[in-house]
């Protein structure tokens, strides 16, 4: 399936875009998505950390993605 991934802040700089399309297996886990992202954008692993949000909620590695999910790369927060 093809999912749409939003990216923000330094992640958008690394990915070169605020919205990515990515081919992933059906029922792709968050963990597997992170591996695919690391292959395509090695600089992401230079971040102190980043999380994946699905439909505006932080999700853990075991979470399985669906095609229409709103997926986002969330680099470390730094508001205030």
């Amino acid at each position: 399936m093809i999912i749409t991934i939003k990216s923000f802040g330094i992640a958008a700089e690394i990915c070169g875009s605020r919205t990515l399309k990515m081919e992933v297996p059906n029922d792709c886990s968050v963990e597997h998505l992170k591996e695919l992202l690391a292959n395509r954008y090695p600089a992401l692993s230079e971040l102190l950390s980043y999380r994946i949000a699905v439909n505006h909620v932080y999700e853990l590695d075991a979470f399985l993605l669906k095609e229409l999910d709103e997926v986002a790369i969330i680099p470390p927060a730094s508001g205030g």
Binding site: G9, L47, L48, A53, V57, I74, S78, G80
Partner: protein, 139 residues
């Protein structure tokens, strides 16, 4: 239980935040005002740029707002945050809590700031004359 969250590029207004928090049933209001510093990490800062994942910010703030009201027994939770360009000396964030007693108001406001800096998807870019740095993103 009232919450007041705003993410916008408009100037922040302490007076209206305080007015929203003020009431005859809550004795204590604690406000945090975050202003842009002219220097950070040993470098002179030109200005800041904030970016937010707005839909998620609102959901996270509502979640943490409910948590804070329950845990600390406070009545009102406010957060106004600027996005886009913010100049040196300007206010980037106002956080506020209204509670019957001051101890809970201080604790809740401090906790809200803690969550803002770790959980709420807002990002701060410090811009210098010779480059920029995304705060907290890299060592």
């Amino acid at each position: 239980m009232e919450m007041n969250f705003q993410i916008s590029s408009n100037h922040l207004d302490i007076e209206s935040c305080n007015e929203w928090l003020r009431s005859a049933s809550d004795g204590g209001v604690v406000l945090f005002v975050g202003n842009v510093r002219s220097a950070n990490r040993g470098k002179e800062v030109s200005h800041l740029e904030f970016e937010a994942y707005e839909e998620m910010v609102v959901k996270e703030l509502e979640k943490w707002g409910r948590y804070i009201q329950e845990r600390f027994g406070v009545h009102k939770v406010l957060l106004h945050h600027r996005i886009e360009k913010v100049e040196i000396g300007e206010t980037a964030v106002i956080a506020g809590i209204a509670a019957p007693h001051r101890k809970e108001a201080f604790e809740a406001c401090s906790f809200l700031l803690e969550k803002l800096k770790t959980e709420i998807p807002i990002w701060k870019k410090e811009v210098y004359n010779d480059g920029h740095h995304w705060i907290s993103a890299t060592p």
